[in-house]
């Protein structure tokens, strides 16, 4: 079929047209392949984390709970008196005295005593763990292995990420360690980073976009902001160490406000970390806010000026309300970067082992990524499992933050 009447100067044949189409299809295939690559990488990432977060574990109890049954009543059903007796029989007198000292036994309830028995008497220990894939496909081999190596151990299917994991504090036993302190640390530092960088960043973006003249100095400033966005984060860590931790130690340790945590009394605190992350994301927020402001059509500004509005009235009533959705979207990206940062916080001095919740901006801290890093470098296998579990928690926290920002953004863009 030849729909094309021959025209002077146009000598394309059907075959040549087909070649043009096939070239287009080739390019389309490349694009599809590139997209597929991205999807595969994401799926592999998720699968790896999930693979390590769930699976069979060989759990060995120091004391078999069967031995603690009284007249056939299991531990769960026993009265407080029976539990106290079991505890006293199975721990040293010194440890029992310490429990009494921490909080008198008489004031504790049955659930508390039960927890103590779980931790100090039964004291389950994961002697070996298998990942999710092996647990599904090689259960028989695992059972044989169990018989050979750990005759006393019990095979349990464990989900390393669970409510207790989120709620518990850091511990040197991976079985009972949790990420509560790290989550609180992450939330505190990110909040401070946002509080600092969002207003400063948006104000700078408004100035550069709406007020600053297009001259040599302002172009230099703009170029430098663009470059700062690409500076490696560890350099921001060194900056934070020099300025917030050292130079401003009197403020960042809280001494100047009489709020110092006696156990720190130096600048390695939440506020130093938050400000460092704030400085880190500041260029990103400025650039994204500038793009959002640039996207507001000029016709709106002209309309506003045309009826005798000042520049500030124009910015406040027309430019910012129309840019706010874009500013929030950009800030989501910036905050997502900040929440995953580890290097600058390690430089600043995230605590390697901390069991107390942060109480305020002047407390010692650790954050989720720092915690994950510390767990992955440990030799014991179970720490790698809880590192994967903490990664899942971090991802969920990130999704929650992003979802909040998206809800906020949608609400603001609807109002227009």
């Amino acid at each position: 079929m030849n729909l094309l009447r021959p025209r002077r100067g146009f000598t394309e044949t059907q075959e040549q047209l087909a070649t043009r189409h096939s070239r287009g299809k080739l390019v389309l295939t490349v694009f599809q392949f590139a997209t597929l690559m991205g999807v595969i990488v994401l799926v592999v990432l998720l699968l790896t984390i999930i693979n390590n977060s769930f699976g069979y574990s060989a759990v060995e109890n120091k004391v078999d709970p069967e031995n603690l049954t009284v007249n056939g009543v299991p531990l769960e059903g026993q009265t407080k008196e029976q539990l106290v007796a079991a505890l006293q029989q199975n721990v040293s007198a010194g440890l029992f005295a310490r429990f009494e000292h921490d909080q008198p036994i008489a004031e504790r309830d049955a659930a508390n005593i039960y927890d103590l028995i779980q931790e100090y008497v039964i004291s389950p220990e994961v002697v070996e763990s298998w990942n999710f894939y092996d647990s599904l496909t090689r259960k028989d081999e695992i059972l044989v292995l169990m018989q050979e190596r750990y005759p006393n151990a019990e095979l349990q299917f464990l989900s390393w990420v669970n409510w207790d994991f989120v709620r518990s504090q850091q511990s040197s036993h991976p079985e009972i360690a949790g990420v509560r302190t790290a989550i609180l640390g992450s939330v505190w530092t990110i909040s401070i980073a946002i509080f600092f960088s969002l207003p400063v960043g948006v104000a700078a973006a408004v100035y550069l976009q709406e007020y600053a003249a297009d001259n040599f100095i302002n172009r230099i400033i703009q170029t430098n902001i663009n470059n700062l966005a690409g500076v490696p984060s560890i350099i921001y860590g060194i900056l934070g160490l020099a300025i917030f931790v050292r130079a401003f130690a009197a403020f960042t340790s809280g001494i100047a406000f009489g709020a110092a945590d006696p156990s720190t009394a130096n600048g390695r605190t939440i506020i130093s970390a938050g400000l460092t992350l704030g400085v880190l994301v500041l260029p990103l927020i400025i650039i994204n806010a500038q793009e959002a402001i640039k996207a507001v059509p000029n016709s709106l500004r002209e309309a506003s000026f045309g009826i005798g509005a000042t520049r500030w009235e124009t910015v406040w009533s027309h430019v910012l309300p129309n840019a706010v959705a874009g500013i929030l979207t950009g800030s989501i990206l910036a905050v997502s970067r900040a929440i995953g940062e580890t290097a600058p916080l390690v430089v600043i001095g995230a605590s390697t082992f901390i069991q107390v919740d942060p109480e305020g901006p002047f407390s010692k801290f650790t954050t989720l990524p720092a915690q994950i890093y510390q767990w992955t470098v440990r030799p014991q296998g179970a720490f790698h499992n809880i590192a994967a579990a903490a990664s899942l928690v971090l991802l969920i926290l990130l999704l929650a933050l992003n979802a909040t920002a998206i809800v906020l953004r949608n609400r603001y863009s609807r109002r227009l």
Binding site: S299, L300, E302, A303, S304, G306, I307, G308, A309, L416
Partner: protein
């Protein structure tokens, strides 16, 4: 060149030249605008019509590279003098743009916002109602004042923009091709509205549409590019529209309005 019946001008450009960087876009324009009349500015593309119009309320200043020479006399003063506030100038000389650009706010707020920032302390409901009536829009929108201005049709949006301009009680309204994005029926309504508004306001309109200029304007200024190769816009002929469109004095004007170029 500019001839006025009585020498009483609402606004007057004297020896006005406008540069974009080093390029002179408009050359030595003298143009006196008569009060409460509609003055049309016509001419081929790129002859500086819009630039001259925007010089009347200092809108060109929003473009960084623009430089203005000469004077624009308004209320006995040159609005380009150092101590004249451009915000005050623009409040007195409003503007309607080529593409309808209502604020993405409610219809009510579109009209009320300008009045509010300019310190209007009276009854806002009354002001919005009377303004929308004057802009021939009240009957269409009185039951949906809280809807977004952008939800209206193109013609309604443009009338809303006119309402927005007259809400701050200006002396002069500048219109930069206000109907070029509208269909013929919406255009007709705007033209009727302009005739009404001319009883109270001085209107200057830039238009590409010569029938429109002939229909609505009292006076017409014809701009064209200088023929010395520098392509600066200049005023060729200015006078009563009737005369310009029937017995133009210059050959080039006649060529343009009869469609021989442009």
């Amino acid at each position: 060149m500019a001839n006025s019946a009585n020498g009483n001008y609402a606004i007057k450009a004297e020896n006005l030249s406008i540069y974009y960087g080093n390029f002179r876009a408009v050359r030595e324009v003298d143009l006196g605008i008569e009060p409460k009349k509609i003055t049309a500015i016509i001419g081929p593309s790129g002859c500086g019509k819009s630039t001259v119009l925007r010089a009347f309320n200092r809108m060109n200043e929003l473009i960084p590279s623009v430089r203005t020479e000469g004077q624009v006399i308004f209320g006995g003063r040159n609005i380009y003098e150092r101590d004249v506030d451009p915000v005050e100038v623009r409040r007195r000389i409003g503007m309607v743009f080529q593409k309808p650009n209502p604020f993405p706010k409610s219809i009510f707020e579109n009209v009320a916002w300008g009045a509010r920032v300019n310190g209007f302390k009276g009854n806002m409901d009354e002001l919005v109602q009377s303004t929308l009536k004057n802009a021939a829009l009240w009957d269409e929108v009185h039951d949906k004042l809280d809807q977004s201005g952008t939800s209206l049709s193109g013609g309604q949006q443009q009338r809303l923009c006119i309402a927005r301009a007259i809400a701050v009680k200006p002396d002069i309204i500048l219109m930069d091709e206000p109907c070029s994005a509208l269909d013929p029926i919406a255009t007709l309504r705007i033209e009727e509205l302009m005739r009404d508004l001319a009883k109270e306001y001085t209107i200057i309109i830039v238009t590409h549409n010569m029938q429109q200029a002939a229909r609505v304007s009292d006076l017409t200024a014809f701009f064209t590019l200088s023929e010395d190769g520098k392509r600066a816009g200049m005023l060729m002929e200015y006078g009563e529209s009737k005369q310009i469109f029937t017995r133009p004095e210059k050959k080039i004007t006649e060529d343009y309005i009869t469609g021989r170029f442009g």
